[in-house]
Structures are given as structure tokens and as C-alpha cells.
Point group: C2
Chain length 473, copies 2
């Protein structure tokens, strides 16, 4: 038996995905073409993601700011590579206050230009450095397709922009923030992510290099999930961000940027969820426990209230569903919404001094003593669920991780069951392009050099890098 | 002695205001005309405002969502009054992805249209009601002037949009949210706000009525600070938001919206701050206590660390300034930034077993025993400061509250010292227009009918309302 509103994951993955999104009321298409509405259940996950990441960013010394959403065309054009990379997908404001504007303005596709423009007028001396700013906002990229959370014209994200007095410190920041994203995926989202450097072809427009966090979905398709860029002095030169160094000489700053988006919600769904709806790791679940009362016996209500209070007092986010729906309906609703733990309190069970506790991830039901220490039982269970979800996702990812030594092997894998494909590469973009011809397979990231074992998977020449490849969303 | 970078408040209020904004690094003009940058110190105040209000909204059953930032022209045009009110100040996107759009799109000036469009397709039955949604976002209005926090093309706000199955409940919601804003101004921002209904002329475009929270600045100029609107079924009819009621008949929903913006930061400054910089009420201060160490004696450092830990453990937001700036510089910086309490720990004082505690609002310094219970001393002091700031603001407001019985009296007040002016009114818009000719004085709100004592301040006819008038930002 599964949730009838949801297509089976193994029958039609794409349909399953949108079914889960709709059934769990996470987001919906809107009448504004290419844009989606983040509904309460979906937005609550984003708020939880924000709170965890924001705390970590601040612990590491970052401060939040808010820059304008519009970028005058001339300002955007100052950094050539960035413009080239983003110009095709920019939305332009050409009229304001009933007049044609003298200069059209882009809705920010990303804010390197605005931060650079700000920094240029606000940094004087090495004593002002580093400046470690971040902003939470929405950005606009005029995409042609729309897929809930994964691709839409407007999406929500966080973009960190930092400037430093030397290259070493800026590179350390780039690496540190990439590690933060890795920690967030592995420890919080229970997604075993991989990490490495993007190839020249795949790096961010205008960056010296890009570090990336990549996750593998249940169907073996990869999702670029968060990136951290080192700019060197490129933007500093284009926007004139100079400071007086310790030797009293003018120098350009060294810059980074790093970001992650609401597409992480898509990753959560496509890694963990099942045919019964959403499954959320406890650490990112906006609601961790639902208590379902069966019947309206006073003893039932009292125990439910007691549990609810005890759990919430210990920061386990719990709520009681005492609506007048049937127990079966409440169970299904809690399931489709991915509430990690369900406690069922009913008069019949209570007559035997028991209650039932169900975990969402495995759908197991446990009958336990009603006198149980609910806080310690539930906290342990939540930790177990978190750990088990990670382990299961890791086993799945490892099962979908392959090795290829030549194009034929690569083709075979991609035609049978895509996944992460380890293969050596000569470093030539032509080989990269050739591989892309196989179902759009791209380099995900360059990983440890020690892993190089042979020749380029494409041309057979000397390998320079060990690369993980995959088809992507 | 005052902070030399800051013009005196009594000499040039407008200059003083921008000086404080700049000296406290709250926000700055940007290279994007009409838009400002919210810098870390200013944005941190907004984050604090968000956290307090968001908690309250959620306690009252509201859920956060995110709607697209673009509104297709035809969707915007469905509600005639709203369009008329906002069309002159809309920014239009006409090109996207290197193509001219078939239909231009407005950057949201407010989102009634988007919420209405969403609700129309998502509400079926009275069982789905009420739907109590809110969103935190930025909006765009093509203003001609820019004043930090008070007026800029883009600003940050919160907009609540709710739909209900009956008029009574929707009106109750309108009133409740107006009361939330009042609570926020009085209890959290320490600003003695007044509240009432807007006149027909001043109400929100498309609303049946608007409730407003109005504050009076130090210079006697009023600031419309938060509003709550009752729409009746106007938008429901324009956008087709129907539900099946208990009698199984189709009915249009009853709707509200309510919002407050980053201009509240402007109010905070203009009510409380002084010639030394920012003064913040403890309940909204992102940082409540600074501990300044004088010298680098181990005893000094240890005590500072002990205080800092004890305070933060009890959720009093404290930090240590142990930078290598001079004590005088640190004191001035903490003052200009409006940190409510400053604790000075120095070797010389410690030799006598004392420390110095300074409050920002009055600039008093207290010498107290170093063995003091720092948590209870500081919590009490923070509460005292909060209360005293409110009282002082109230005395100031009352001093700037006047009564007028005819146009001459009104003119005299406005030419001498503006403020809140109580005066009866016949209800005729022509009288309202005539009063506006005096320095742009507008009705702030209609208040208790019992206060009516005489004739219309303008025409001398029978008064229908008691109104508070004032010049506004």
C-alpha cells in the first residue's frame, strides 16, 4: 500500500518527485510563468535551513547585510566574464515610475557586482579587512524550464561575499565555507555529499576556481548543491577595491563568494523521500514529533498534553493533532508531511498502559510502556533516525558510484544506471565536451590527485586529474 | 561635548539623522539610484525586529510563505483601486533572457494580487479557512526622493495576507494585527505609538478600512509606522476567491492584509537617539552589553570573560571589546552604536575591587563592587533603561501633542512647533484637503468618538470624527 496520490518512485521518478512536492504541500506552480510559490511546509524547511546555516556563518565571524536587488547595466558590465556568464538569463527593468529609464537595470542574478561596488568605497586600510558579509535574498535567472525547487526563474538563497588582505586568507575562507556546506549536507541533511574543485569549464563565471558540494539523488542523477568561489583580485581590479597594506602601499583585495539555495529542499526530497511522501532527517524537520490522540478520553488528552509539554520544554519540536479527522487520516497526513516521529495515544492502548510510537523513515511501529521517559526515548530515536537515514543514503550512493576506464565503459554505465562515475582525465576541455555528448554527462568535480590510476577516460593520454562525472539536474 | 561627526539634533534635525545613520554604520546610499545598502549594524536591528514579530505572528497561528516578486500586468490590473494607487510608482520588467516579454511585469510594490491569485486556486471549503499567511521580503516603489530607512525605492518588510469565512472574523484579525503592532511599538521599541482608523482619503488603495500605528518623532513630525487593512470581499470578487460555506453555497472570502517595514528603524533613531549617536531600547538592541577591558592584566581579562559568559548564558547578549583601540575610542564606539550597557573592567578599579557600569541612554556611570551578581544587576538595569526610554519618549510626545479648534490655531501650531494635533472634523474630504495646504498636514488617524467636543476645525460645521493630525515623513 502506498499513498495513492503519489506515483511510485521506481515507476516514474520525475512524476514521483512532483507528486511528493504537491502532496506534502511544499511548493506550487504560480500564475507567474517560471516562478513558484513556496508554501508553508516548504518555506518552513527553508527557515530551518536558514537558522542552522546562519548560526554557523555568524560563529565564523560573518555579518548579514542587504544590497539592492537592481544592478545598473554599466555596473554589471564591469567584470567581463561574469556578464558573459549571466547576460543570457537576466531580467531587465526598463521602466520605472511611468518613465523609460535612461539605463536599464538587471534584477540581480547574483550580487558580486553590488558587493564589489560597496567594498570599493568602504575599505581603506588593511585594518578594515577582512570584511565578511552575507545576505539572504532572492535572485532571478530567466530559465526556460521550471522544476519545483530545482529550477525556477526566481529562487531563494544565501550569498556570502568576503574580501581579504592576502590570497592565502581568502583561499582559506573559500575552503572553510566549502567545508561548512559539506558539514551541512552530511551532518544536518543526512546527505552523503562529495566535494572537490570544478573544472575550468564548469567553474563560476569570473572565478579563479570553484569548490563544490555535490549530492547524488535516488535515481543516480547528480545535483550541484552549494559552491564556494575564489576570485583572487579579478573583481577587485574591475571595481577598484583597493586598500593600503602594512607597507603603506595600495593593493587590490582578495575576494571570495559562496552560496546555497532552496534547491537543497529538492535534494532532501530526492535523497530521502519514498512512495508515502516526504521523509525528513530530524535535524532539519521543522516539526519533529506529532502526537495523535485517538478518542477524546480525558486520560488520552492529559497524557498527550504532558508528552507535548515535556518534549517542547527540551527543544524537541512537537505538536498535537487533535483535529476531528480520523486516526487513519492523521497518520497518513503526518506521513506525507515527513514528521520523523509519530506518537499515538489511544484509550484502548492506555487500558494496557501502552502507547505506540512510529518512525517515519522505516514506518516501524513500537509499542512501549505509557510510563516511559518520553524525552530520552524520543531524543534517542531522533538521533537513530538521523544516523540511519545517513547510512541508507550512503549505501545507495555507494551502490550508484562507478568507475570507468574508457568511453565505452562510461557509455555503458550512463545507459544502464547513471550515478557518480570515477574516471581519470587529461585536463583537455575537448575530452570534457566529448563526454558531455553522452547524455549530457558533466564533470562534477576534480578530486584527490592520489586517486589517479591510469589514462584519460576519453582520449587515453596521460591523466592529470581524477574526476567524478555524472548527469545533473 | 558630543560626537564631532554628528550635527546637533537641535541645530539641524535632518542632518543629525543622516549623521547618526552614517556614524552608527546602519545603512548607506548605494550606486543604485534610490536604493540603499543595509549595513551590518542596521540589518542586525531588522533581524531582531523580525525575530520578535515572527514569533508573535506564529503564536497567533500565521505561517510564512514566499510568493514570486514579479506580477504580470494583467494580474495586477484586476483590482482597479489597487492599480490606481500603485501604478505611478511601479518598476516594470520588459525584457528577460534577451527577449522582449509579451507582457510586462511589475516588481511587487505589495502582494495582494499574488496572494489573491494563489488563494483563488487553493481554497475550496469553509474547512480550509482561515488561511493565515505572511511573507518577509523586499518590495519596490519608484520613489523620487531617498531618505535612509524612511523612503527608498526598495525596502524590506513583512506583509500578512489572510482570508476568512466571515466578515467578523476578518475584522477581528485586522484589529488583532493592529494591536500587535501597537504592542511592538510600545513594549519593544519603547515608542508611545497612537492608533486609529485612517480616513477614506488616507486609507490603503483597495481597502474597506485601514487601521494604523503612528509614532511621533523627536522633531514633532509623524511617521506612519504600520498598517492593517480590512478588504471585505473586494479582492475576493476581483480574483474569484470563492469557498463553499456551511450551507453548501459559494461565497467570496473576507480578506485582510497588514505590514510593517524597515522604516521602523528610522523611527527608533528619530525617537530615541541623541547627539552621541544611536540609542537603542534593550529589547530591540542586537547587542545589549559591551564589556571594555582597560589594560591586559590577567585579572581584568578573567573577570571580563566571567561576566561575558554569565550574561550570555542567561540570554543577555554581551560581547567583549578587547581590540587594541584606546579605552576612550572603545567607549565612543559603543556609544555611537547604541549598546545599552557598557561595563568597564580595568586594573586600577580592580585594585579597589570596583568596576564601572555606564548606561547609554542617560550616559550615567555607576561604580559598583566587582563581586556584584552581574546577571541580576544588568537584567534590572536593562529593564530600567527600557522603561525610562519609554517614559521619556512619552513625555516628549505629550509635550508635542496639541489641540486645535479652528484653522488659525492649527496654522499657529504647525508654524511654531509641529506635533500631533487633536481636532474635530466634519468628515468632508474638502476640509481635509484644505488642512493639507498648511505645510502638508494630514489626518494621522480617526480616534475615539467620545473625544468629539465641538465643531469641524476647518469649516465649523457639525463634527463627525475626532482626528489626530500632523505633518508626516
Amino acid at each position: 500500500m502506498n499513498n495513492k496520490a503519489i506515483t511510485s518512485r521506481d515507476v516514474d521518478f520525475a512524476k514521483w518527485y512532483t507528486d511528493v512536492v504537491r502532496a506534502a504541500k511544499l511548493c506550487d506552480y504560480s500564475s507567474v510563468k517560471g516562478c513558484t510559490v513556496f508554501e508553508p511546509n516548504g518555506y518552513a524547511i527553508w527557515e530551518k535551513m536558514q537558522s542552522v546555516l546562519d548560526k554557523k556563518f555568524k560563529e565564523l565571524g560573518h555579518q548579514n547585510v542587504y544590497m539592492p536587488m537592481l544592478i545598473p547595466e554599466n555596473m554589471l558590465k564591469k567584470e567581463g566574464e561574469l556578464v558573459e556568464g549571466f547576460a543570457p538569463e537576466v531580467a531587465w527593468v526598463t521602466q520605472g515610475g511611468q518613465k523609460d529609464l535612461e539605463e536599464r537595470m538587471a534584477i540581480r542574478p547574483t550580487s558580486e557586482t553590488l558587493f564589489s561596488d560597496y567594498y570599493a568605497t568602504h575599505v581603506r586600510s588593511y585594518k578594515d579587512l577582512p570584511m565578511l558579509y552575507n545576505q539572504w535574498c532572492s535572485v532571478m535567472r530567466w530559465e526556460k524550464e521550471t522544476r519545483p525547487f530545482l529550477r525556477s526563474r526566481e529562487f531563494l538563497w544565501q550569498e556570502g561575499h568576503t574580501i581579504h588582505s592576502n590570497a592565502e586568507e581568502a583561499m582559506k575562507e573559500t575552503d572553510q565555507m566549502n567545508q561548512v556546506y559539506n558539514w551541512f549536507f552530511n551532518d544536518i541533511l543526512a546527505i552523503p555529499a562529495i566535494s572537490g574543485r570544478k573544472t575550468e569549464k564548469e567553474k563560476f563565471a569570473g572565478a579563479e576556481y570553484t569548490l563544490t558540494t555535490e549530492a547524488l539523488m535516488y535515481n543516480g542523477v547528480a545535483l550541484q548543491s552549494a559552491t564556494s568561489h575564489y576570485f583572487g583580485q579579478k573583481f577587485a581590479e574591475a571595481y577598484g577595491i583597493k586598500f593600503t597594506n602594512k607597507d603603506n602601499k595600495d593593493e587590490y583585495v582578495y575576494q571570495t563568494s559562496w552560496g546555497c539555495t532552496t534547491r537543497m529542499i529538492g535534494a532532501l526530497i530526492m535523497v530521502h523521500s519514498d512512495d508515502f511522501g516526504l521523509v525528513l532527517p530530524p535535524r532539519i524537520a521543522p516539526r519533529q514529533v506529532v502526537i495523535v490522540t485517538i478518542g477524546d478520553d480525558d486520560k488520552v488528552k492529559d497524557l498527550a498534553n504532558k508528552f507535548n509539554k515535556e518534549l517542547n520544554d527540551k527543544n524537541i519540536i512537537s505538536y498535537i493533532d487533535n483535529s476531528d479527522k480520523s486516526p487513519g487520516f492523521k497518520f497518513a497526513e503526518a506521513e506525507v508531511n515527513g514528521i520523523p516521529v509519530r506518537i499515538e495515544v489511544g484509550a484502548r492502548d492506555l487500558a494496557n498502559n501502552t502507547i505506540t510510537i512510529a518512525r517515519r523513515d522505516t514506518r516501524e511501529k513500537m509499542q512501549v510502556n505509557a510510563d516511559i521517559d518520553i524525552v530520552s526515548y524520543v531524543s534517542e530515536l531522533l538521533e537513530t533516525i538521523q544516523k540511519d537515514m545517513y547510512e541508507r543514503a550512503k549505501i545507495r550512493r555507494d551502490k550508484l558510484t562507478f568507475e570507468a576506464h574508457n568511453l565505452e565503459e562510461m557509455e555503458n554505465i550512463l545507459n544502464t544506471q547513471p550515478g557518480f562515475i570515477h574516471a581519470d582525465w587529461c585536463g583537455d576541455v575537448e575530452c570534457e565536451n566529448k563526454i558531455k555528448e553522452i547524455k549530457g554527462c558533466k564533470s562534477r568535480c576534480i578530486t584527490d590527485e592520489e586517486l589517479i590510476t591510469g589514462k584519460c577516460v576519453c582520449c587515453g593520454r596521460e591523466a592529470k586529474h581524477h574526476v567524478i562525472w555524472g548527469i545533473q539536474y
